[in-house]
Subunit: 223 residues, 2 copies
Amino acid sequence: MNSQRNCDIAIETLISMFTVEDGEIKVLLMRKKTEPYKGYWILPGDFIKNDETLEDTIIDAVYDKLGIASMYLEQAGSYSAIDRNPESRVIAFSFFGLVDIVSIKLKRVENSEYETNWFSIDSIPKMGYDHDIILNKTIDILKNKLNDYSFLKYLFPSDFTLPEIQNVYEQLNRVKVDRRNFRKKILNSELIESTGDKNEGFMGRPANLYRFKSESNSVSTFS
Amino acid sequence: MNSQRNCDIAIETLISMFTVEDGEIKVLLMRKKTEPYKGYWILPGDFIKNDETLEDTIIDAVYDKLGIASMYLEQAGSYSAIDRNPESRVIAFSFFGLVDIVSIKLKRVENSEYETNWFSIDSIPKMGYDHDIILNKTIDILKNKLNDYSFLKYLFPSDFTLPEIQNVYEQLNRVKVDRRNFRKKILNSELIESTGDKNEGFMGRPANLYRFKSESNSVSTFS
DNA sequence: GCAAAAGTGTTACAGATACACCCATGC
DNA sequence: GCATGGGTGTATCTGTAACACTTTTGC
């Protein structure tokens, strides 16, 4: 390690945070209010500070800008192309996050300083910088993650129905699966248990409600 | 993105490069010649320069310090603990690399400036900084990668025997598998083909030699 | 001819897939 | 009572796991 260090490079963290709302998988984006890319949507994030790890930075950014205090968080990738930011050299570290919509609605502090919106991953708006590339890469990670049912607990900790969770699975993988086979597989996994309640008030027969069996149930988890 | 950028943080890249030699999975380490951690072994790498991506940096470091020009390369993770370097703030980006021992021996330029050595992943020496943590994390990635037989082509492009490749599989996963089942599975994958030659001159019956069917056969690949 | 290591085929089990009818509720 | 969506069981298939003897070479 005898070559020179270089300090003209800034480091930012960016997060692709996913949730499920109304049966759709959505990602949280912010609208940029200044040039360049004014009016475009971007991934939330921040520049790193001296006394912070990358993880600290992203947790703070998510809390300060989005009002979200608890989530599943994991490193995703790095983006270091020389000209990815037209103003100066910035290297980005991308994170992958999962939150459940119920806890967001309960805990989220509305902050008028930032315009944010949840977009379905099937209709992403025009994004600034290389954030569309970063987001698409993270969506691929999401697809891989959710093949393992245990990650669903971050999106649906409690009071979900099997048809709901099957719907998310089918959206993400763009397939239709047999209801009986899906139920067998997820119930055999022993990850979830019935709450005893039913999802009443909708058309048709009420669905049973389930929850993930809780050991270490969420809150800022790192891999 | 309105918080201040901070330029007091250096960025380094580090690589855990693996090969197979004499039936053992090995990683390439360098011995540190200056304090701190003088005499300890560390992962090869370098500080990033202004006109380089992270990938450029690691490719250059591997070529300049190790004389290796061609490999499979992939991002692994980032390490940003405040005090991971006792001298100053340095964030590390870890890469994962695979090379085959034959091409190393053919192409490698010996460079007396650096003391390097291939260590079996079962007997890693005392390492400086947090490099043991980084290496162990990358070994986990290696284990996952090699469950997919197609990655074996970076370690064994040609003229390998099935017992050799089975031995690597067994070492990595610390299991013994049935020879017949292993052969069936890898031959059914249609990834490899017989070269027609045999591995003569050893004890016992000579083994058939195989090669990976080549479409896009190696050379600095990124995922 | 004997020691060493490679090559081979069949059966059993488990996980995944395909498939159709009945049940509980709202209107 | 009918439309809507949820819940259930069985038969087949496919991939994985278990298992022992024969073949080719060096010495």
